[in-house]
Amino acid sequence: MWRDALLVAGKDLRIEMRSRVVLNQVVPFGVLVLVLFALALGPDRRPMVQAAPGLFWVSVLFSSVLAVQRSFSIESAEGARDGLRLSGLDPAGIFLGKLGAMTVQLLLLDLILGAGVVVLYGAHVRSVGAVVTAAVAGTVGLAAAATLYGAMAAGLRVRETLLPFLFLPVASPVLVAGTRAWQGALGTAASGSGPWLRILLVFAVVYLALGVVIYGPLQEAT
């Protein structure tokens, strides 16, 4: 399973390195969302600092929809999906590989958007540990759920429009818990980050386990 996961992750990352779709399109989209919200909230820094955690996670969420669509569109073209099924790779390995590649790409996006929140919104990080833990746990959870729902929608003709409908409601716990965890870490809320970090970790573990178990049947059914 781990060998297969490394093989698939390496393939997806190599495709991204050559095509640069995530770097040239998804990352600028996320930054654009941050910039547009900064323009909408106006020159006063106070509402921007208050809204910064939520806007960061909204940007990550929207960008992850684009990233997962890209991740599965490369399998839909030219019969590559059949090729992957025929190779006999362990479905759990394919899930973990695609999840791993997407996590790497989304973490890069987190880094850039995190810097954007500090620069554009003037946010001050009080607990780097909580910010990083929330970002990593939230991103792994998002990537796991996105990979699962991406596989579900992959075989459908309406996948581009259906995926956001399937995925965004499911990802709302990450949006809420990530925002609250970052509010605690940025000092914009009185409560701490601890309970929200636990929710993010549980979400990530649940979707990781679910993906490992059901990706195979899902791949065959769609």
Partner: protein
């Protein structure tokens, strides 16, 4: 010796439609069988059933010793399929694609270079992204994967499509070599001129069933074609 492919009244559905509606077929080791029939006859579905891509819902189906009624996925790694689409990644180079496909199928990566050379995928072509290749070149890349993997069962769906004359000849040689080496080849084709010389048997399909079969021309000395006799058609 047990047959490589054994279908008895096999039924497979595409949606609710029985694309295979009780097909019977037995293919032995080292045999080259050409599937003939009109569009929608069930040729591609039969190949996809043998590849473990389409589940069998009725009858019996055993391929390479795997009972496809019990598990249709286990046979996949033993099968090499050349489908309508080349199953390649556009953004990866030719070399990356062949390497990935061979490694994914647990093949020997040491065979990659020889297979690519055999298919004429040399020089700058090795480092060219697949998106820049012509349809025929993509077909050659898919064939290189098959040659490098050396599966015991080759499933070729319209393999001559988009190939130039030289590559068609090469395909014929590859099929002959595979069969001589003990591999079994099932080949669906609408091009009898290209497919019949490769075949031990020709199986005719229609309505998702096997309608009949006759001998192919493999191994026969065909002599010059009627068109070649006399040199020119000009009166």
């Amino acid at each position: 010796m047990a047959p490589v492919v054994s279908l008895r009244a096999a039924v497979a559905l595409t949606g609710r439609f029985p694309a295979l509606a009780g097909a019977d077929l037995t293919v032995g080791s080292g045999e080259v069988v050409v599937l003939d029939g009109a569009n929608g006859a069930g040729k591609t579905t039969l190949l996809r059933v043998c590849a473990g891509l389409v589940p069998v819902t009725g009858g019996e189906a055993v391929v390479l010793g795997y009972d496809l009624r019990r598990s249709h996925t286990a046979v996949r790694r033993q099968v090499g399929m050349l489908g309508h689409a080349p199953a390649l990644y556009d953004d990866l180079t030719v070399l990356d694609n062949v390497r990935f496909a061979v490694r994914a199928a647990a093949g020997d990566p040491a065979r990659v270079d020889a297979a690519m050379e055999r298919l004429g995928l040399v020089g700058r072509l090795r480092r060219t992204p697949v998106v820049r290749l012509s349809a025929g070149q993509r077909r050659r890349v898919s064939l290189a994967v098959l040659v490098a993997r050396r599966p015991p069962l080759w499933l070729l769906d319209e393999p001559h499509a988009a190939l130039d004359a030289a590559t068609r000849r090469l395909l014929g040689e590859l099929v002959e070599e595979a069969a001589t080496g003990g591999a079994t080849v099932l080949l669906a084709s609408h091009e009898p001129d290209a497919a019949l010389p490769l075949a031990d048997r020709v199986v005719t399909m229609g309505g998702g069933r096997v309608l009949g079969e006759c001998d192919g021309w493999r191994g026969r000395s065909l002599g010059p074609s009627p068109r070649a006799v006399g040199g020119s058609h000009v009166a």
